[in-house]
């Protein structure tokens, strides 16, 4: 079992790199044969990544959430998995490279620095916590993908506004599709974040006798949740659309990343396990 963990830890960055290259080549050169090949690469990578995460859980007797590098590998998996589902549902295959690269970078960092801890704090062995973290990471994956599509939307928007018709114009799907992809990702992210908050709300009083609802992590999470909730409401009600919503998705993502960084590394919070 130990060898599987080590072997897959070494293999995963390579697999993500190969998958990324397939999407990259297909973006620059419209090779029809690569359309299915790249999806197959992504599927195999995700399958082996799932095996890796399960192996870690069994080997070390705790969910892989006990240090930031374990979180990174789970996040890498969630981001690519969310994209894979989106690609299957929409059959829009031309944007994968912008998503897979994030997984590749996260996985490289994780593989280089991940610590194998048999001994962890008791509180981190909880499966309820594991579910909370996993759904939170799925939530942040949705938010990340929404931001990526928001960014691509703004790139294409800029080319169209300035009547320059480069590779972005030629290869990306149209603005409406990019907006839809971003919105669906944001909705899924918001939904899973809601699940994460709910599970966290159940787990927190059981795990910690003394905690404050003014904890920086709780405030930051509530802020991000409210921001996305409002954005989705205004979008559905038709008050906001197009560029405005896309800019919001990017701002929301930046706030989520910044607040996670601050609360996990700088502020004093019960959420700092490291």
């Amino acid at each position: 079992m130990f060898n599987i963990v080590d072997s897959l830890n070494l293999l995963l960055p390579g697999l993500y790199a190969v998958t990324f290259m397939a999407y990259l080549v297909n973006f620059f050169k419209d090779i029809k044969r690569l359309d299915n090949v790249k999806r197959l690469f992504l599927f195999i990578t995700l399958l082996l990544h799932a095996v890796y995460l399960l192996s870690r859980m069994i080997t070390f007797s705790h969910p892989p959430i006990t240090n930031v590098f374990e979180i990174l590998t789970v996040l890498a998996f969630c981001i690519s998995f969310s994209y894979f589902v989106l690609e299957l549902v929409t059959d829009i295959r031309g944007t994968g490279l912008f998503i897979v690269i994030i997984s590749l970078l996260f996985q490289i960092v994780s593989s280089l620095f991940i610590k194998d801890s048999y001994e962890v704090k008791e509180v981190l062995k909880s499966n309820l916590l594991g579910s909370h973290v996993f759904s939170a990471l799925l939530g942040y994956s949705g938010i990340t993908i929404a931001a990526v599509y928001g960014f691509l939307y703004l790139l294409l928007y800029r080319e169209l506004k300035s009547s320059t018709f480069g590779l972005i114009f030629q290869r990306l799907p149209n603005l409406e599709i990019l907006e839809k992809l971003s919105f669906y990702s944001a909705v899924i992210g918001f939904a899973t974040l809601t699940v994460a908050i709910a599970i966290g709300g159940i787990w927190l009083p059981r795990a910690f006798q003394h905690f404050s609802y003014a904890d920086p992590k709780l405030i930051a999470t509530a802020l991000v949740w409210l921001l996305y909730g409002l954005g989705i409401f205004f979008k559905i009600s038709g008050r906001w659309q197009g560029k405005k919503v896309m800019v919001l998705s990017i701002i929301g993502f930046l706030i989520a990343i910044f607040s996670t960084f601050v609360t996990n590394f700088l502020a004093k919070s019960f959420h700092s396990f490291y």
Binding site: L156, L160, S163, R239
Partner: protein, 424 residues
């Protein structure tokens, strides 16, 4: 192979001469009948707005390119036409040329979609007029295959290469489903009418037309079953449309920045596409600075056209590779129509059948008779094949390239499946 071809096209002659020699379908039929009686044993005529071409097998070897050219030019008085306006192709060059034409790489607009249909039509007319034998039929099949392969295996016909099509390509980069969008076309001169018809063909959800001359707008609106708006009131309706195409002949702008700002306020920021294909421009170009407005004029649409043309030009080597393959296949088939290989293939086929049957049945005969069975069956085969072999050789002695010989060979090869057997 004595295939002759002459061509007057966009590369060799100005539009006035090409127009003068353009033939409609009835004229093509009549010309083919005359050619059949005087010059060609097989042939076809291709005539479009950019070329008129005659291909054919001459009735006898004294018939030359000049005869075909004279045939064409003497039908109508044409000032200024000379031999220099014609290209001439013989045998493999003629095959190569028709393949290039069918694939669209000889067209004025490379990758032209229309030419393939026009080439197929010319083949059909030749077949209807009974001016195509096995050789031309094979050539037709190969040319059609080249055209299809060029379209499916390369990107030679991809991307918009006219301003109207580029406008639609641009719209499709903003909106995903045209059937849920609406468009207004302002000005129904040639460009406006083409744009309106194009949007209609693309399945736009709602289309409206407006023109200074109301009757023109109403006439086209009735044809396309869409709405006509009075020119005096069209600004009140601007916000109802996602796409506005302006193509009037107005000397000044008809839509200013304030008009578009007011339109966008009513649309609550929902994106709008403004295509200004008029010269001079109808819409103040400053409107591109308004959020949610995508403004393009002829210059920016021409950029898309140029890019797509460059991409098509990059595909030409792939198409030429397909043409090379099909040309080689065609001439390989042609060489199989020589007499000696056909006689050999026929004899081999009969011998194969004889040997198999003898092998399967020989055990029913006593040992002493088996050699006799072998000899007897060989004699039967030789007697059956004697007449066909003699006739084929006689035909070969007269001329191996004659249409009659080729027809005989083609029939024998088809009837006995000699080409299938060769592949097996």
């Amino acid at each position: 192979m004595d295939l002759l071809a002459i061509s007057i096209n966009h590369r060799t002659a100005p539009v006035e001469l090409r127009e003068a020699l353009h033939l409609n379908q009835d004229e093509i039929r009549a010309y083919l009948q005359e050619l059949k009686e005087s010059l060609l044993s097989e042939g076809f005529i291709l005539s479009t707005c950019n070329r008129t071409e005659i291909y054919g097998l001459p009735r006898h070897d004294k018939i030359e390119f000049a005869d075909l050219q004279r045939f064409l030019t003497q039908k109508r008085p044409i000032n200024g036409i000379s031999d220099d306006h014609f290209q001439q192709f013989f045998s493999s060059a003629a095959v190569n040329h028709i393949f290039r034409v069918a694939a669209g790489i000889d067209s004025l607009l490379v990758g032209d979609n229309q030419i393939f249909g026009q080439v197929k039509e010319s083949f059909q007319i030749a077949e209807d007029q009974r001016l195509s034998g096995p050789l031309l039929k094979r050539l037709f099949d190969a040319a059609i295959r080249v055209g299809k392969r060029a379209k499916t295996e390369t990107l030679i016909s991809e991307g918009a290469i006219t301003v109207s099509y580029a406008a639609v390509q641009l719209v499709e980069k903003i909106f995903s489903n045209l059937s849920k969008k609406s468009a207004l076309v302002i000005g129904l001169g040639e460009s406006g009418e083409i744009a309106a018809k194009h949007l209609h063909d693309k399945g736009i959800g709602k289309l409206a037309l407006t023109n200074r001359t109301t009757e023109k707008a109403e006439r086209l609106a009735e044809t396309l079953q869409v709405r006509a708006i009075a020119f005096e009131n069209f600004k009140e309706h601007l916000s109802e449309y996602d796409i506005i195409i302006s193509a009037t002949a107005a000397p000044d702008t008809i839509l200013g920045k304030n008009d578009v700002k007011a339109m966008m306020r009513k649309r609550s920021g929902s994106p709008a596409v403004l295509m200004d294909i008029a010269v001079p421009r109808d819409i103040d170009p400053d409107v591109r600075k308004i959020d949610g407005v995508f403004y393009n004029d002829i210059d920016s649409l021409s950029v898309i056209v140029e890019q797509n043309m460059r991409k098509r030009m990059d595909e030409i080597p792939k198409v030429e590779s397909i043409i090379e393959e099909e040309t080689a296949a065609f001439f390989s088939w042609l060489s199989s129509l020589e007499v000696a290989p056909t006689i050999k293939s026929l004899r081999d086929l009969f011998e194969q059948i004889r040997a198999e049957e003898v092998k399967n049945q020989i055990n029913k005969f006593p040992e002493s008779d088996r050699e006799k069975v072998d000899i007897l069956t060989k004699r039967i085969i030789n007697k059956i094949l004697h007449m066909p072999t003699v006739e084929l050789r006689k035909s070969a002695d007269n001329s191996t390239d004659s249409a009659e010989t080729m027809e005989m060979i083609a029939i024998i090869r088809d009837m006995f499946g000699l080409d299938k057997k060769t592949k097996e």
